[in-house]
């Protein structure tokens, strides 16, 4: 493993920008390339060396001081990330951010996640918190908190989950009581990522809680900003009372938080906290999909490095044998190439889809970005984790040991299918919230655009896209027909529908990717179409079959 070196996939990132229709308006490619190169170098040389150590050392919680000690080297690397502006690259320049396009922020996130996903979650959350405070905070609060959050001198959290409610935020019990110009917040929160750590002077919690006169359910939730230290420097009563013990991402503190009459200030309007929450959640969900891509990318790189070094058995094609050696590189074996191609193909397609979605944000098409976000999060993490596992398999026994780190990537990555809303919840968000908005306007526009491309282009990818659009269309009609009559039908097939949509989108991306002069993309596009796209028919069959099959067992028969 000592000879492995992470190489930022800058070429692929630039390719994913170039093939999009409207790139010229926004991006100066030489600047972009220089930036990606410099982040990539920093990620490879400075961040990556902290990664395995962070996993092995883990975090130390001190119950006397309620403090969390980060692993060695994390603080220095964090300071490097923020001081170079990598964590604020796409934040608005009027609040001190880099003002770059969003798409670059997600490409930077991919590199951070490849080289240390635990640490990458810290700026991810701070960026989300900055977005909320900037959009919903009062002028005063913005002035008080934003400058130091943008520089990364302070970090942010989102405090949503409580022991009795994760998915179902309507069950929140945390309470806020007015106290002069602000509120006293009390309650217990769990799963609070970077709720406590020792890399910064202050931690700014965005806390969901209920006012005394709140309506019941999720329409009665308000959001409050609760700093660890008040602005006068005194300690607020927001304490980490313990850490979760997890499968991976062991250097990312997952905190139990206790708020005991903590001082908090309202963000946005009373009872309208869910709106602010979603403003934070959507970009975070995009980032989670990108994190999983980052892990699949570095796992691919490790597996390829291994396959080009390890010799075992002979090629069955005599002409490919290296008779100067006792055995051939395992890269000659078609089953090894198959596994590597699966991973590579996912990475390229997913990177393009992420770039496309971020470009929608850059163009101001937030509705389309919102529609694509649950796909990026759910398909990205489901498939990202599956492909890390496939890369591990290339190494055989070596992949199961800590020596090659893929086992860590797999453990670290498994959380991406869960946090910021499980993938099942993403699917419900897609079919229940994003898709029906304005009578499906965003989906209809997207379908029209994809159809145009499919009819304009020729070749394997384009035929694949046409087929996929047909399947998606069938599913859309099914959802419309059954959804109004019975919402449980839609919920039952939501995950399958998300996959139909995802595969159609990725097929579209391959049309774009393979339209360039670079022939390897054309060949990879054929690979995707021939080896992966036909899964769409299984998923559309599931959609059209409806809910009844999932009730084939009674509760007591489980």
């Amino acid at each position: 493993m000592s000879f492995f070196k992470y190489q930022a996939p800058v070429h692929s990132m630039l390719h994913s920008l170039r093939v999009m229709d409207y790139h010229d308006d926004i991006y100066d490619f030489s600047t972009v390339e220089a930036l990606l190169d410099s982040v990539g170098r920093f990620a490879s040389e400075e961040i990556f060396p902290t990664n395995a150590k962070g996993d092995q050392q883990g975090l130390v919680y001190d119950p006397d001081s309620f403090a969390v000690k980060m692993p060695a080297g994390f603080n220095a690397v964090y300071q490097g990330i923020v001081s170079q502006g990598y964590s604020s690259i796409a934040l608005p320049s009027d609040i001190g951010g880099g003002g770059s396009p969003q798409v670059l922020a997600y490409q930077v996130m991919e590199m951070l996640a490849s080289t240390n996903i635990s640490l990458s979650t810290c700026p991810l959350l701070t960026q989300g918190a900055v977005g909320v405070v900037n959009a919903f905070g009062s002028h005063e609060i913005k002035q008080q908190y934003l400058p130091k959050m943008v520089t990364g001198d302070w970090t942010g959290t989102m405090c949503l989950t409580e022991p009795q409610c994760g998915t179902d935020l309507g069950l929140i019990k945390s309470a806020a009581v007015a106290d002069g110009d602000h509120y006293k917040i009390s309650g217990t929160k769990i799963w609070i990522t970077f709720g406590e750590h020792d890399m910064v002077d202050n931690i700014i919690h965005l806390v969901l809680a209920k006012l005394p006169d709140a309506p019941s359910g999720s329409h009665g939730i308000s959001m409050f900003i609760v700093p660890k230290y008040r602005l006068d420097g005194s300690r607020n009563s927001a304490y980490c009372t313990g850490l979760e013990h997890k499968m991976g991402s062991k250097a990312s503190p997952t905190c139990f938080m206790n708020f005991d009459q903590a001082d908090g200030w309202l963000i946005g309007e009373p009872h309208k906290g869910m709106r602010a929450m979603f403003a934070m959640m959507n970009p975070a969900r995009l980032s989670v999909g990108v994190q999983a891509l980052g892990l699949s990318e570095i796992a691919y790189q490790v597996a390829t490095t291994f396959a080009k070094d390890r010799r075992q058995s002979r090629s069955l094609d005599v002409s490919k044998r290296d008779m100067n050696e006792e055995a051939d590189l395992i890269l000659v074996h078609p089953d090894v190439r198959r596994m590597l191609l699966n991973v590579r193909c996912f990475n390229e397609g997913m990177r393009a889809l992420t770039a496309f979605t971020a470009m929608c944000l850059d163009k101001g098409d937030t509705e389309r970005a919102a529609l694509l976000t649950p796909v990026i999060k759910s398909y990205g993490s489901d498939q990202g984790v599956a492909h890390v596992s496939e890369a591990l398999q290339v190494l055989g026994g070596a992949g199961y040991t800590q020596d090659w780190m893929i086992e860590q990537f797999l453990r670290d990555g498994r959380i991406t299918m869960i946090y910021e809303g499980t993938n099942g919840i993403q699917a419900l968000d897609l079919v229940g919230r994003k898709l029906p908005k304005e009578q499906g306007k965003a989906m209809l526009a997207l379908m029209a655009e994809m159809r145009q491309d499919a009819s304009k282009l020729k070749g394997v990818c384009s035929e694949g896209l046409s087929m996929a659009i047909g399947e998606l269309e069938k599913c859309n009609i099914w959802l419309m027909t059954h959804g109004l009559k019975d919402p449980e039908q839609v919920a039952a097939v939501a995950s399958a529908y998300l996959n139909v949509f995802a595969l159609t989108l990725v097929a579209w991306m391959w049309c774009k990717l393979s339209s360039s002069k670079e022939s390897s993309y054309l060949r990879l596009g054929d690979y995707f179409t021939q080896q992966h796209l036909d899964k769409i028919k299984l998923y559309s069959t599931r959609v059209l079959a409806g809910k009844s099959i999932y009730f084939c067992l009674n509760d007591s028969e489980f």
Copy 2:
């Protein structure tokens, strides 16, 4: 988690025996049930409590004494397993075994693996070693070693892999030189499971090495028995020099072994060690598939326990709402049921296929068992691990923590896709060795039997089976047509072919399972057919597409 209790799936195990055609000849069901009950109780009450502790404590290696200390409680439980004869249940009674049918041994293995897969690997390997010594050892060696190995007073290992060769055993460098009536063995072995531990007085290594006059490649390998302690009690020069650090199965020692002029005795004929190795490997591979099933079973039980306790959100079907509670059990949500059904369905189908294969052994149809073995190992572990992950997803964030143990099952289980030959190697074993034997006689007999059942029965499962047989037939013809001309074609599609074969077999099992009066099996059979069996068409498409797609990138483009 404290309220979770593993329940041995005795009902399902008995069902999988009853539905097979020829069960009456071999099994006394009341005896079988009593035995499974008693093993299940021991597994639940005695073995399971050691499992999480074993993972957390791990193993301690002492480089001064070359000793490996097992986690607390393991020794006592191991003694319980062997003293009750659970580890020797199906070994021949003439050497002191229980003389029960093989099928029971694999059902016992499932329970051991559910409750502690790390520990279960120890008797698994000893059983394999006993089989080899019994089949290939001289009368003297059998008398010297078998009694204590059968009782479990001594354990066995298989020492195959070396740093430069895992899959490709032809590259073995370990050397054996004659020394009077025996040999001096020297060499380094890696991945030696239970190569060293402190639960028994002696460890019996079966070591592959080459004699000075050996032909090159795998036809020049011999097998030797190398005890840790010679029969006179003196220490042999076979030492554990370190342990691997792994993703999971952390209580199963994976040893570096050094043999330095160690005394060894030939097992079988010179240069014929591969034959003996396979005699050990085939049952071990069956057991590995069963281990993965065991993990998927307990993961299902944990997820079901969770889904029947955790309340979150409301059913979209008003009639299913429990208005006495603030939210409904998550079991009401169709997407949760979908995940649980997927796991349940895999477990039942796989359990039946394993029982069927073991019954072939009991009937003496070793050729058919040999044909099915790579399927059990590869499909069983691929899908077993995938379904542990699906069960984890039911728990959301809780599943990612150590509190519910599924994360451990996932880490522990990932090795089953690798050890005893990676799943890619299983596929090559299937298409290259098992399938072509005697002009495909075993496959032809199986196809005829499946066709007969498909035509005899009616219903969804039977239609599914007919469809699957058609796909398998197409693939068989393709392999025959292309295999002789170009073996690389066969190697390239081997994994896909294995899945076509596996799904056909499982479809057949569902015909048998659902033929009983128990209607839940009929409904689950429909579930399998409608939600899983159609994947077979993707795999058969991959087979028929051949190898060229896997060479779409040049070596340098990876």
